[in-house]
């Protein structure tokens, strides 16, 4: 067994990796291409970083391509992202033209490779237009939507739908996100990589170092929310919850750690709003971390007493999975994939308001043993359901499903 797979076997169990090998046998040598719009930052890039080499170790010929575009392209795709999440965003024609031109330009570079592939995975709306520029494609094309598209803004969805309908299949993270499309819509929740810098075990010394680096007091309770500075992540609501809880727990500290992604032009604006809401409170630490600060994020999550993810819309909420993997109870917004992970009274609490979050913060911080038990339950739940190995198994199953047609039982034995 090769070393990368062996490393995963040590965490997920040898049976899990054996399972992957058996599934991959029938796909040996298949050419698979993944396309997205950023190499670093954001959950998609983090998943592909390991999924691609693992697929190669399993014998599939897998590559990962990244498309690029100008400022107007990214403005357009950010608007599409927000619109899919339900924001009523009208996208001006000039931005749509920039989107279409960027896809056409990227197709010039990628056409040969994409047309020859057996399977092409197009991640999110940014590269969705590539299919229309590859008329001689011979493989199956799958559109992978990582966004909570349960209530999309219809004018924008109708525009995207025309493109996406031509794919052979699509993937959504949860059943609620699926839309009416004329092809199979597979449901595959995303996953975390337990061996990545963001999730790997850290020494106590390394965790302790973040207290010094960010001027935090290890003797006082710490709340942490890790997410982009994005309105749907409700960082302002987190500060409000912290303030309400602090009335009862005066030594409370809060870290809002925001990663950045090269395809998110809105981050700066939200960051300014968050700073204004924090109003120079010395116990609120707003950290703007570079996209490669994975070990720092890992240490912050491990340093936390409670991890928050108070999103109002969420694709899946991998930061919740990350926190669970580190044995932390999570207080999360009752939305999207957070619902699949945060189970009330077992792995944390689902909340709807800053008031609800504050109540649960107070509730948990007064029951340390319960917090620990919840953390352990969360870790096992994450191990069984949300690690990269499960994600990879479902991708392989999907490829076999696409290859063998739309029947219930595909017998390869």
């Amino acid at each position: 067994m090769s070393s990368l797979l062996e490393s995963y076997a040590a965490i997920a169990g040898p049976d899990v990796v054996d399972h992957l090998r058996q599934l991959a046998k029938s796909l040996h040598g298949a050419k698979v291409v993944h396309v997205n719009s950023t190499r670093v930052g954001g959950g998609v890039a983090e998943i592909l970083e390991k999924l691609v080499p693992l697929c190669n170790e399993l014998g599939l010929d897998t590559s990962w391509e990244v498309i690029s575009g100008g400022e107007e392209f990214y403005q357009c795709t950010k608007s599409m992202h927000n619109a899919l999440q339900g924001n009523r965003v009208r996208i001006p024609a000039r931005l749509l033209t920039a989107y279409e031109e960027a896809n056409a330009a990227n197709a010039e570079i990628l056409r040969e490779q994409l047309s020859a592939a057996d399977f092409v995975f197009i991640h999110d709306p940014q590269p969705a237009g590539l299919l229309g520029h590859c008329p001689d494609r011979c493989g199956k094309w799958v559109w992978r939507c990582h966004i909570d598209a349960s209530h999309p803004y219809r004018p924008v969805w109708n525009y995207l739908r025309k493109m996406v309908s031509n794919y052979d299949a699509s993937i959504f993270s949860l059943p609620a996100f699926a839309q009416l499309l004329p092809h199979p819509q597979y449901i595959i929740p995303p996953s975390i990589d337990p061996l990545s810098d963001k999730n790997i075990d850290l020494s106590q010394e390394e965790v302790a170092r973040v207290f010094v680096t960010f001027d935090l007091d290890p003797a006082r309770p710490l709340l942490v929310q890790v997410s982009r500075f994005d309105r749907f992540k409700d960082p302002v609501g987190v500060i409000q919850a912290y303030r309400l809880a602090k009335k009862f727990i005066p030594d409370l500290q809060l870290v809002l750690a925001g990663g950045t992604a090269s395809d998110d032009p809105e981050g700066e604006e939200i960051l300014a709003e968050v700073r204004e809401e924090a109003n120079d409170d010395p116990d609120i630490h707003i950290l703007l971390l570079p996209p490669d600060a994975h070990r720092t994020i890992n240490a912050l999550q491990r340093a936390a007493d409670i991890v928050l993810q108070k999103s109002t819309r969420e694709g899946f909420g991998l930061t919740v999975t990350e926190a669970m993997w580190k044995g932390k109870p999570v207080i999360g917004g009752d939305t999207g994939g957070i619902r699949l992970q945060v189970i009330n009274y077992h792995t944390g609490f689902l909340v709807h308001t800053p008031e609800g979050a504050a109540l649960r913060i107070r509730h948990l911080l007064r029951q340390k043993e319960r917090m620990q038990a919840m953390g352990m339950k969360g870790k096992e739940y994450a191990r069984e359901n949300f690690l990269l190995t499960r994600h990879l198994r479902e991708y392989l199953t999907l490829l076999l499903g696409l290859r063998h047609g739309d029947k219930y039982r595909i017998d390869l034995s």
Binding site: F172, L180, P189, Y408
Partner: protein, 221 residues
């Protein structure tokens, strides 16, 4: 003693597919149920065993869970939860039974026709990829040693999925053992008594392992 061919240990992987059909109240659920593919009804009874789920299932099928938690119809939930597909001749008769229970509720309460659920019911179906593990059991006594080594998905394939493939709703182990004539008839009866409704796959594996160990290593009667 008659000899049956070796038992081929297979494994499977399930992928979930959205059908695009959703229901926001009981009347809509009824309408969708009438036309949805039987594979979807099958999935909502058994697919949960192979998909992310926390601890043990409160209800044995997704229809019952939705009726209780989204529709707030506890009586309907209990009636739906009592449906055991093994007692019916095929999923079409299961569909008719569900529809009859829903009709009873709709007849009893006018509000249940339009009262919206807290969350939509999303009709899903599954696609099962089956592959050969290359492991073979030469004699029934091998079951005691090999069951604990099987993956939970292998248990799903041989003990749950088998019921839709093998005559008389049997599992693969019973079907194989029946190739030995009446020799293991009692064991087959004990296998039939394991109720997969109340257990996770790892619990079923444990029950099977204990049963085979007691039967073969304790000495077959």
């Amino acid at each position: 003693m008659e000899n049956a061919p070796a038992f081929a240990v297979k494994d499977c992987a399930l992928i979930t597919i959205a059908t695009g059909r959703k229901a926001i109240n009981l009347a809509e659920l009824r309408d969708r149920l009438q036309v949805v593919n039987l594979a979807s009804i099958y999935h909502h009874f058994w697919g949960g065993l192979l998909t992310p789920r926390f601890e043990e299932r409160e209800f044995h099928n997704d229809f019952a869970g939705w009726a209780r938690h989204s529709l707030r119809e506890p009586e309907l939930a209990e009636r739906l939860a009592a449906i055991d597909p093994g007692e019916f001749q095929g999923m079409e008769t299961v569909r008719q039974e569900i529809l009859a229970l829903i009709d009873d509720t709709l007849d009893e309460s006018e509000t249940s026709r339009w009262m919206p659920a807290a969350r939509e019911f999303e009709f899903l179906r599954g696609q099962l990829v089956v592959f050969d593990t290359a492991r073979r059991l030469q004699t029934p006594a091998d079951l005691a040693e090999q069951i604990p080594k099987m993956s939970t998905s292998s248990i799903f394939y041989h003990f749950i999925d088998a019921r839709s493939r093998v005559p008389d709703n049997r599992d693969d182990f019973s079907f194989w053992l029946s190739g030995y004539g009446a020799e293991h008839q009692e064991l087959c009866g004990q296998l039939a008594a394991i109720d997969p409704f109340f257990s996770s796959l790892s619990q079923i594996r444990q029950e099977l392992a204990e049963l085979f160990t007691a039967y073969f290593e304790g000495g077959a009667p």
